[in-house]
Amino acid sequence: MEDMIHMDRAMSTQQDIKISARNVQVYYGDTHAIKDVSVEIDDKTVTAFIGPSGCGKSTFLRCINRMNDTIDIARVTGDIRIDNEDIYDPKVDPVQLRAKVGMVFQKPNPFPKSIYDNVAYGPKIHGLARNKADLDEIVEKSLRKAALWNEAKDRLDAPGTGLSGGQQQRLCIARAIATAPEVLLMDEPCSALDPIATAQVEELIDELRQSFSVVIVTHSMQQAARVSQKTAFFHLGNLVEYDDTDKIFTNPQDPRTESYISGRIG
């Protein structure tokens, strides 16, 4: 075990490996959605998953915080480790895992509660705040990190659903980072947003890299190129290519990757 950690460390050049997936298979009933995917995701890095619709990138993302557990017919095999701990070990409670691996969804989905309650919900159920002052501090910190504090500080009691789309998505990001996760999964976080809101969220993702390992699924290759350091290209459930973002976009090794980024398949 110890040796493996050392080996992993040695393999990664300058970064620690946060998530390591080996031979992951996902089945939805009879459909083989993810075929033998192995990938290692670095800490404090933005990793982008790109690929055409239905290629399995979101499915794979949802394996990392075991959101696929909520789908009855989904079955996951293989080995996914976070900090070298198997997250599919029977001893792992997915609830604890999800506090450590936050998630932002495609459509902004704030709770129909106040902005404050939206952000405070996670810390409350995980007992992260001992008193009201603590909670206030967490809420403020999270909203600041999500670049929403200045817009929201005067109306923390207003319903979260009353914000604009971009603000709602940043609220969801604030909610996700309020539980102090180590990994942040983002499933096409900008697909429902206009270009200005998208730019704000992208800027935010770049800042979040300081504190978390961020994995983002995106349809937009430009977005992947802008925000990520590493990019994985999925096609028909296979991980086709995984490398530094620059390399993927300038010098792809696989012909399928090249076809996709040049717009011939997708």
């Binding site: 909520t70 895992l97 999800r98 506090a99 936050g102 989905n109 129909p112 909610r175």
Partner: protein
């Protein structure tokens, strides 16, 4: 000729005609429904509004000590030996004296004049005297019920022609009643007793009220609310959120839908067999009625609760699970509050349905003639175990009576029932509007 946009072609004309015809069908269907409702309400209101009015005779009644308190010690236990029969002549004489005092002449005998007074009146006066023995020896003014026939005169139910053919009254009595009304001795006023008094026998429709029925219905609704709501909501949450989706849950779902369509009388037979014959609960008790109605209401509540839970967008569940809430926290913190308006509406509609249900209650004996107000709890019969009746059953009961005076009572009871249902539906609408949240 080329097709011009200014000319409608045959195909478009046909489609437009089809649409116009469909609209006309829809509109006429609504008009028919509204007319039916209007006719129904008018006939019920026409027949029933008079039940809320009652004719009273204001009498100064001397209460002679030698007749009412023979022992002379003003002890209610001794005075109770004088039955209502002992009070009848006192009231009769008081009315005869009143007729003379007003200077009215009539061919009626004293006995016939006495029959203008309700048979219930002597019991009312006796109760008052026993409650307050010091009244004996004094002359006390009472508002006593007029008999059903005299009451009918002022409601247009009894006419000279019908009185001439009636063994219980006569045209002379009608004339006297009208003269007394002009003198202010007889007056018609709002009838609170209709809501508070218990049922009365065939001979005294003027005294019959809904008190026991309202109390019985209230008890049953409490039983239904406290059993059906938690059981129904808990089972829907389990089925909708926690249960694995497999053949068994499918089977359960189909069966719940089928249960909702089972005729209510079947639940009555079930209740009779299980709750009365097997578990030996008291017949006619609100407990058994409530249990039967609970069984009947459960499918309605389960179906509407599941629909309400289903309508909560899955993104809310994802959001809660995504921040690390457990399944139960996501349901109770987020899904349930959003589904609450739908659940409440379904529950109230289910309760309203149960309130108006008659058939199963007939089978478990709630159709019995009950004059005692049922206590919510008694040591002998337990919680809600005393015999009672219910509003819709009371309607059924009164429509079976021979005296025409019960017709207005039955319609009055229907109006009361409809008002309760209207209030419940209004509450349901209010709750839905008030707590509905948008996302």
């Amino acid at each position: 000729m080329k097709n011009s946009l200014l000319v409608t072609d045959a195909r478009t004309k046909k489609r437009n005609a089809k649409e116009a015809r469909f609209k006309a069908y829809g509109l006429s269907a609504i008009i028919v429904a509204m007319l039916a409702l209007a006719v129904l309400l008018t006939s019920v209101v026409n027949n029933g509004m008079s039940a809320f009015q009652q004719t009273f005779i204001t009498l100064q009644v001397p209460l002679p000590a030698d007749k009412l308190d023979k022992v002379g010690n003003r002890d209610p236990a001794d005075m109770a030996k004088v039955t209502t029969i002992g009070y009848n002549p006192i009231l009769r004489d008081a009315l005869v004296a009143e007729v003379e005092r007003q200077g009215l002449t009539t061919e009626l005998s004293a006995k016939d004049i006495g029959e203008m007074i309700s048979k219930e009146a002597s019991a009312t006066v006796r109760d008052r005297v026993l409650a307050n023995p010091d009244l004996v020896g004094q002359t006390v003014t009472f508002d006593i019920l007029a008999s059903g026939r005299i009451d009918g005169v002022f409601k247009g139910r009894v006419t000279m022609e019908s009185a001439a053919l009636d063994g219980n009254t006569s045209p002379e009595a009608l004339i006297l009643a009208q003269q007394l009304a002009e003198a202010g001795v007889i007056e018609t006023k709002f009838n609170w007793n209709f809501f508070t008094a218990p049922d009365a026998s065939d001979q005294r429709p003027e005294a019959a009220g809904l008190g026991v029925a309202i109390l019985g219905s209230l008890y049953m609704m409490l039983v239904v609310l406290f059993l059906a709501l938690p059981i129904g909501v808990a089972s829907s949450i389990y089925l909708e959120e926690f249960a694995p989706k497999n053949r068994w849950t499918d089977l359960i779902e189909v069966n719940i839908s089928n249960l909702a369509a089972v005729p209510s009388i079947v639940y009555g037979i079930l209740g009779l067999a299980i709750f009365i014959n097997f578990m030996e609960f008291n017949q006619s008790s609100p407990l058994v009625g409530g249990l039967v109605l609970t069984l009947m209401t459960l499918p309605t509540i389960i179906i509407s609760t599941r629909a309400a839970l289903k309508s909560v967008p899955p993104s809310i569940r994802d959001a809660a699970l995504g921040v690390g809430a457990s399944k139960m926290q996501s349901v109770f913190h987020h899904v349930l509050p959003l589904a609450a308006p739908g659940i409440l509406t379904g529950t109230i509609i289910g309760l309203a349905q149960a309130l108006g249900e008659t058939a199963p209650l007939l089978l478990i004996g709630m159709v019995a003639f009950v004059r005692e107000y049922p206590a919510a709890f008694s040591p002998e019969s337990g919680l809600f175990g005393e015999a009672s009746t219910a509003l819709p059953v009371q309607v059924y009961n009164w429509t079976q009576r021979s005296d025409p005076a019960f017709v207005e009572r039955a319609s009055g009871a229907i109006i009361t029932l409809l008002v309760f249902l209207l209030i419940m539906n209004a509450v349901a609408i209010y709750l839905r509007r008030r707590f509905e949240r948008r996302w």
